[in-house]
């Protein structure tokens, strides 16, 4: 049976007259470069959108050269495997218990030395619940760094798509926040519930409505998700000089 991915791929290639003129490399699905590793913590609700990963990885493989693993992995902060997860995801709605000092130390080491965390408050309540707890933990873990709004020229907004907004199930903030260490932002945070917009049920239907923007807001959420993953694997690659004229030209189109 032909998969959705292969159907779309063949159709687009035919339309463009490029039918396998440059064939896609035989990259195996068995060799993912990325997967979601979701942090399970104590208290609150660590898993508000259990079915987000498959849809996002589907879109990622469809649109980019990256192979992903659809099954998300669940890790705790005391799990040594945390360090071998290329994309660590953390979400929640409610206040959660403080991390232990050992967990904080491990998490700090992970983030300082090259790890990546995308965290989101799916409730979207500033200063309450998950938002309050997450900011508290980040202050404990990386006290010398501050969570700040990521400005429009940050690589995460241009790692794959040139983004102006970040979409999501809800529209709390039109930008990401993050903690930047030198030129790398190991922590990116949103309150727009991107994973809520990505989540599909087993029949392929969207689980949540995106309000107030509807499907365009969902589309932006997927773009944001892809940009986040590409950023986690390429860092500030798009800041290289060679990209500047192209990006500027396209932004002026």
């Amino acid at each position: 049976m032909i998969s959705r991915r292969h159907f779309l791929s063949s159709a687009l290639s035919l339309t463009a007259g490029l039918f396998f003129s440059i064939p896609r490399p035989s990259r195996g699905k068995n060799f993912p470069q990325v997967f979601f590793a979701q942090i399970k913590y104590r208290g609150g609700d660590w898993d508000p959108n259990p079915r987000f990963a498959e849809a996002m990885i589907d879109e990622l493989e469809l649109r980019t050269s990256i192979d992903g693993l659809k099954e998300r992995r669940v890790v705790t902060l005391s799990d040594p495997d945390l360090f071998f997860c290329p994309f660590v995801y953390m979400a929640g709605k409610y206040e959660f218990e403080p991390f232990t000092s050992g967990e904080r130390e491990a998490f700090r080491r992970f983030l300082i030395f090259g790890g990546f965390l995308f965290a989101e408050d799916t409730l979207g309540a500033k200063g309450f619940g998950f938002d309050q707890s997450f900011r508290r933990e980040m202050k404990e873990i990386l006290p010398e760094y501050e969570m700040k709004r990521l400005l429009p020229d940050h690589s995460v907004y241009r790692s794959f798509y040139l983004m102006e907004g970040i979409g999501g199930r809800q529209k709390v903030t039109p930008f990401f926040e993050g903690i930047t260490i030198d030129h790398w932002t190991p922590v990116i945070y949103s309150q727009n519930d991107l994973s809520g917009a990505w989540a599909r049920d087993k029949f392929g239907k969207w689980i949540n409505e995106c309000v107030p923007g509807g499907e365009s807001q969902r589309s932006s959420a997927f773009k944001a998700g892809i940009n986040l993953i590409v950023y986690s694997l390429t860092s500030d690659y798009k800041k290289d000089l060679i990209h500047h004229p192209f990006i500027r030209r396209r932004q002026n189109l």
Partner: protein
Amino acid sequence: MSSGQIAIAPVIPFWLILLLLLLGLGLILHQYLLIRKRVGGSKALMISLLRLGVLSLLVSFFLNPAFLERRKHTIRPPLAVLVDSSQSMGLTGNDGTGSRLDQARSVLLQEKSALLKALSEKFEVRLFAFGESLRPIEAGDLPALKGYGRRGDLTDSLKKLSGKSSIAILLSDGNVKWEGSASTHLPVFSLAAGDSEGYRDLLIKAVKAPLLAFRGREVVIDVTVKAYGYAGLTLPVILKDGSNLLTAKNVRLHGNHAEVTVPLSFTPEKIGSPHLSVSIPSQYGESLTSNNGVNLSLKVIKDKIRVLMISGSPSLSYRLMRTAFKNDPSVDLLSFVILRTPSDVMNVPLQEQSLIPFPVETLFSKELKDFDLLIFDNFPYNLYLQQSYIENLKGFVKEGGGFAVIGGPFFSREGGYEADGLGEILPVRFTGKEAYQRDFSSGVKLSRAGMVHPITCLSPDEGDNAGLWKEMAPLDGINLLEVRRSGTVLLESNDGTSRPILTVGDYGKGRVLTLSTDFSWKWYMGMVARGRSNVPYLLLMERMVRWLTRDPSLDPIQIILPQNAGSAGRESEVRIKIRDEGSSFDLKNKVSLQVFNPEGMKIESQLKPASRSGEFTASFWPEKGGAYRIRVDSPAGHQEESLVIPVPGEDLDGAPDPDRLRTASLSTGGKFLSTGSDLLREVEAYAAGRRENHFTEERSLILWGRPYSFAFILLLLTGEWYLRRKWGLR
């Protein structure tokens, strides 16, 4: 002048001596009275007098009498005569016929004053040849003295003479090192040699050039030209590499004593050690032409290692390698990541994407030569590179470029890489069965070559290094490869199959490397997870880049030139370090040295093993100045360096400098004088004004210790005994 006196120093208390004397006198008197009855008064008196004489002498010995003689001596003040024997003293003197040294000789030996003879009458004269060192000589050595070597250090020489001489006379042209003050109290009376007004010369006084230059970056060499007696002349300053003209600039000389600095710039195109020289053409009437040219020592290296990395897909491997390269200030990275392939969906307008076209044609047909290293990171090159690009890539490596392939599923290819020719570059080939294996989970171990290879030798201690690699996190996927004959495996899997993981090799002048995994990032994060440093991974990446680009710091052979290049006619030594990269060869017998003179002729040289393993000392005797090429061959490869020996006189400023003599003399309390007779008069006047030095010699003659004292006592006793016998006494 001498005087004498008798001194006593009793060996026993004086009263005891007196007591003994009185006892002796009493005994003699008693004996006198006894024998007078038997032989009569006159005979008894004679015997008693003899006895009294013996008694007096014996008792006087207890007084320890000695004769003291004092002689007064007057000392002539020590005077050091320093005859400048440096190279500039060989140049023409005042009259234009003899040298400046002849002029000095004449003052000392031949002129009316015959200075040396006159001085010797009133001073204790010590003669020194004053050049690179201070050397005592005799007056008879003066005629054979020649101007040779660098100028002498007057400050240092005065320190050496301090305390040994009270006055110094210096005969020099003023080309001496003088620090402006002397810490000694030794007055210097100087007499100038040479004609400072009529001296004509052009010279390169100074060349300010960096020791290191970067390929492709402009180098500026500041050349200072000094001229005596060529006012108004315009002449070119020429910079050459061997016989090739690099650049030239005209300078105009204003005034008779002119000094002009001119910047000469050029851009080195090749790495290595070019044979640079700066020169100015000789002019009519120049006193010296050897100082019209200077050889330069310059090493051209890469400014930055230019790396082109192409990744088949975004990955953590790419990000961490990129981070490592970006953190290395010597690496200039240009990277491309294939973010989407033509078969991926492009569901938004172009202006909403940040993707740029992969400039494959520009890179592989035009700009490849501008890079030092090309890295394919899990890159399916066959989908993007035409055969002509692959040929260009082969040519790039053949000509000295570095090429690294980082593995991964995209690198795998059924049938291998033999068809398009890329396979012949690589040090590995596919096994032909399965190309890539996931969920492999095997650690790595060092091969024998890997234990000492600069890429994998991350710790100087062999045990620590092996332990470090043992601790590295297991890899989750590898390309299944076999090593070619040309390849050297540095790391292999430790799962029992010993698959090559990190393999290196050569292709043409270039170096190649294959890291057959896309999970090397686990080595980084694995160390971080253990609470260890991420430095080993960063070091591995740095070493890979440096080895592939033949960075001199990782060359198996290093020729270490001496800081001071030495001089013609003296033995020059260079150190050689050879690192054994795992080949089982006996270094001692397989290292050879060749030294070529500036004309390219091989000259005699010696190579001796040093105390440390893999280190040697090479020595040779340069007969003249110029660039000497040193070549070392070993099983690890070969290396060449050039040692520039200065041409004698190339840095000589031979102009007489009477002002320096004047300054030196005045600052030491001496005088600067124009003729030998003035000099003698001034020195005598100076000496007369100083307190006369003399000493008294005192000699002590112990009288009782003399043999004649005992002989005299014996004579008296014999006389007494004879008279007693004669006169019938017992």
